[in-house]
């Protein structure tokens, strides 16, 4: 087994091929910052063992629906089968937004990489935002 850091040298046995537990993700995730100019909320849903995200972002005249895109999923360790993070990409033509999410103690930390492709000379930028799932338990 090849590895480039010792934490990746692990004994893989009965877990091989077992699907990831996706239960941490599906639901409506609300931005912790009510004054955001970025993403207001995410709706993550499961379909056929895959996860989809729908982004709703703040616009000058209300929410902008980005539609849905697939998420690539990540566990917390090479041996874990519990989903803990994801990567998703939106290509808008004039710009591309790459989302890198990870869940820490129920908080979704969402890193966003915005790259402009329209020659507008806007600088590409990075921002992180925080989201909590509405669960209605308390």
């Amino acid at each position: 087994m090849q590895f480039a850091q010792i934490c990746d040298r692990v004994e893989v046995n009965d877990g091989t091929g077992r699907p990831l537990d996706l239960s941490a993700f599906p639901g409506k995730w609300i931005n912790s910052n009510p004054d955001t100019n970025g993403i207001a909320r995410l709706v993550i849903s499961e379909s056929g063992g895959k996860l989809l995200v729908q982004v709703l972002a703040i616009g000058p005249d209300g929410l902008i629906d980005w539609g849905t895109t697939d998420l690539n999923l990540f566990a917390a360790t090479p041996l874990s089968r519990i989903g803990a993070g994801f990567i998703g990409v939106y290509d808008f033509g004039f710009a591309e937004t790459r989302l890198q999410g990870s869940i820490v103690k129920g908080l979704l930390v969402l890193a966003q990489f915005h790259r402009f492709k329209d020659g507008s000379r806007r600088v590409d930028y990075f921002v992180r935002e925080y989201f909590a799932m509405t669960h209605g338990r308390y």
Binding site: M1, Q2, F3, A4, Q5, I6, C7, D8, R9, V10, V12, G15, T16, G17, L20, N37, G38, I39, A57, I58, G59, P60, I64, N72, L73, F74, A75, A76, T77, P78, L79, S80, R81, A84, G85, I87, Y90, F92, G93, F94, A95, T97, R98, Q100, S102, A111, F113, H114, R115, F116, D118, S120, R121, R122, V123, D124, Y125, F126, V127, R128
Partner: protein
Amino acid sequence: MDQNLQFKQSSHLHPALSDPTTRRWSADKLIGRWLNTNRETQGLAEFVIEQDGDRFNVSAVGVGTDGPIDWPRTRAKPLANLEEEAGQRAPALAATFDLGFMKAEIQIRVNKGVLVIVLFITFLDDSGRSNYVNREFFYRPD
């Protein structure tokens, strides 16, 4: 800001994005050699960030069984870091290390003097290992 610009969220129209000074990277807070704050790490022991004009390169050293493992020097893309809490003009960096059997897509930023790296690791070798996300923290030794 030109109101004809296309956008998908209001922050796409943030005036700072069209301000040429935003593009003048002040990377002093990023450049150099960084060591993992966790001396018992089983992951990356060291991380190096270099700047050549507008270009950035990164390299890393993984902890191995028989000594350090060099990760290949890789181009990193700078992005303006608009986080309010940052209060600094240091860019964030995005890079992907391709090691053949795995790739590591990483985000790099400085927060109050700590280099924070988040790695999204994907195994490409059918070894059965789960792709995973990990976070490491680094300090400057000097």
